[in-house]
Subunit: 415 residues, 2 copies
């Protein structure tokens, strides 16, 4: 045993005895050092088997070169190698998140897939102590909520053997054994928050008092504990009716303490939009109102406080539609609402119109709106209700009319 | 109006219209700038009257010179001036706290005293935004609990008009008006955590992205909100029977969630010893035990888990004592327990011994210990129970014997 790195790793890897593990290999210093350690010490660690897995993110110019480097390194070292491709930019386009976030989601998807395929025990990542502290500061500087100061996925299948090892110890090991690695040149670019934190803030801290790392770690753990506690206290759940359409019960929400309400809303928003505190404030305000209320949020989302529930949904659900059902047709698909309208018996041979409600609609001589209100039907439910019209008259209305020859079927988790 | 400083101050001082305020004046840049602003703009601010108050901490060589500077400045500016002396080192010796903490406690004591004397409305301190951020980092690096990240006393009587103003804006104002001030030369000494944070960390942040200040501020506010929330949730109170002797009910404690238990214990410890997480862990462990248990804590404190309550107390309460009550004496004072034993009637003319219990004590033929246990009397209560002995026999025992010719009176908040 030559380095502190090895000493610490032998200790942290004790739990891997007789296990089968995947080592996530980016090709950078940290992960090649880990792979090298496993290659050199497999029998001492007592690990049953290990493989390497590289995920080509297709983000940087040298993504392909990095993948190739990893492949060759594993060939040379006699380590079984798996390669997956992910396309982060496509994902970022579809969802509103940072490249880093999208990369993480897609990367772990592949790693979990492989874990299942191989029926292995753990995914090993090369995150080390400096990463942990960097994540903390990124979150502090970006204004992350206090219960979200830890930046790592917590999962029993992910194991981070280097988490108590500092960057310098890894570098010492890599230099000592002259291990080849690829360097991410963007690592030096201080326009990236992470790099600035690494090069400036962490460097200052390390030279002033290394003990501060432990105190920050403790704070990170407290943040996790706090999150667990709050999750328990705020037992309210939101119901995900459909992708981009969620709701929760007002009565239960109103029983929460103010702090818990804010926690709940923040988590809800975090899931769908880049949530900021000001939106939480706005939502709190409109939820207190007596009347139904709808407001715009970023990312084409709307929030609605209605009679019995609150809703968060994409504005596409409010799209106007009018579809002609021709003679003989037995069903009309309203795709954006996830509904199929079916027609039986005497309805089959009619020409009808399937549409959403409009201002001034009447049904059986009464204002449709009043009927909905009398029945205490929430605003968004009214707006997405299916109406069937014949010769300019509404003859059937979802949530009002009984199902008979006209019925609604749902597609998947349709509204 | 010439500077951003003035613009911001006029805004923040609007709430002071027709009020009477004390300006805490250290003589440093920040507080002289504030005093200068008030002197120049009293009528525009609309403040009814303001005075300056300097607290001589007697900590540094130039403490007296600073006090003199403030006095002269106020004379020159025609501002009514108050001066108080505090002796921080004496206080630090008696209580286990940092000089900074002790200084704060004593300083505010004097300021509140003056506020009451003058029947004024507010104490104005010159804390500015950089102070706020410095406090945050001090707490992060020292490992303060997550619900304690704000470093300021929160009190409706204290107003901080400069809290949204940055150091550079103050400096600009002071230079612009050529205002004299005293400089604390220790401010440059980076061995002090605060100075290092100011000179290194804050400087880096300011040059990278000033917006980070707002995000950190938000985090500080979240920490305060969290504390308020937890205080509400953890409704358990500890009872302060006497200085350095506190206790709480086990039954209520056991109803708390784990997170709340830790929060409660941390706050309890913070009040009496330099609490660290490891002590909280220890206390949690012994509270779970079925039997009574006592452990040592720093600062000569003991923690006891007993039958119905838990206790935190200084070990001086366990001191052995034996006091002779001579013929004719009617009372014996047991000062360290805050108890007076009084003797009436036939007891007056007896020679008796007043003492605490000892191993093997018997009372009316039974083991004293067993009697205490049968009566479910907590350990510390047994250990501090008054026994009265005559001719080698215990004739009266507190918590067991009825009060009659022998009684216990308490001194102040005696045990």
């Amino acid at each position: 045993m030559n380095t502190l790195y090895e000493k610490k790793l032998f200790e942290s890897c004790q739990i891997l005895k007789d296990r089968n593990v995947i080592i996530a290999l980016s090709g950078g210093k940290d992960s090649v050092s880990l792979l090298h350690f496993f290659k050199e010490n497999q029998s001492v660690i007592g690990v049953n088997s290990f493989v390497a897995c590289h995920i080509n993110h297709h983000i940087r110019e040298n993504s392909d070169a990095d993948a190739m480097f990893c492949k060759k390194l594993c060939e040379e070292w006699g380590v079984k190698f798996y390669l997956f491709d992910i396309y982060v930019y496509d994902y970022v386009k579809n969802y509103n998140m940072s490249i880093e976030e999208a990369g993480r989601i897609l990367r772990y998807e592949k790693l979990y897939f492989l874990l299942k395929e191989l029926n292995y025990d753990f995914i090993l990542t090369a995150h080390h102590k400096d990463d942990l502290i960097e994540n903390f500061f990124i979150r502090v500087f970006r204004g992350t909520p206090i219960y979200n100061l830890s930046g790592f996925n917590i999962d029993e299948k992910i194991f981070r053997p280097l988490i108590d090892i500092e960057r310098e110890e890894i570098e010492y090991y890599v230099n000592f054994f002259k291990i080849p690695f690829v360097e991410d040149i963007t690592n030096r670019d201080e326009r990236y928050l992470r790099n600035w934190i690494r090069n400036r803030i962490l460097k200052e801290i390390k030279s002033y008092n290394k003990g501060f790392y432990n105190n920050i770690e403790r704070l990170i753990n407290e943040s996790k504990e706090l999150k667990n506690y709050l999750d328990k206290k705020v037992s309210l759940d939101y119901e995900i009716t459909n992708f981009n359409f969620v709701s929760f019960e007002l009565e239960k929400f109103n029983k929460l303490e103010n702090y818990e309400k804010r926690y709940f809303l923040m988590n809800l928003l975090l899931r769908y939009i880049k949530a900021e505190k000001k939106y939480v404030d706005e939502l709190i305000k409109i939820i207190q109102k007596k009347t139904s209320k709808r407001i715009n949020l970023p990312n084409n989302f709307l929030f609605e406080k209605s009679i019995s529930r609150c809703y968060l949904f994409k504005n596409e659900y409010l799209k106007s539609f009018e579809i002609v059902k021709d003679y003989g047709e037995t069903e009309i698909v309203v795709k954006h609402l996830g509904k199929i309208v079916t027609f039986d018996n005497d309805m089959i041979n009619k020409k009808l119109i399937v549409r959403n409600r409009r201002k001034g609609d009447k049904f059986k001589g009464k204002k449709l709106k009043d009927i909905f209100i009398d029945k205490k039907i929430d605003l968004i439910i009214r707006d997405t209700a299916i109406l069937v019209e014949e010769n300019g008259n509404i003859i059937w209305a979802e949530h009002i009319s009984k199902e008979g020859p006209i019925k609604i079927k749902k597609i998947g988790r349709g509204l």
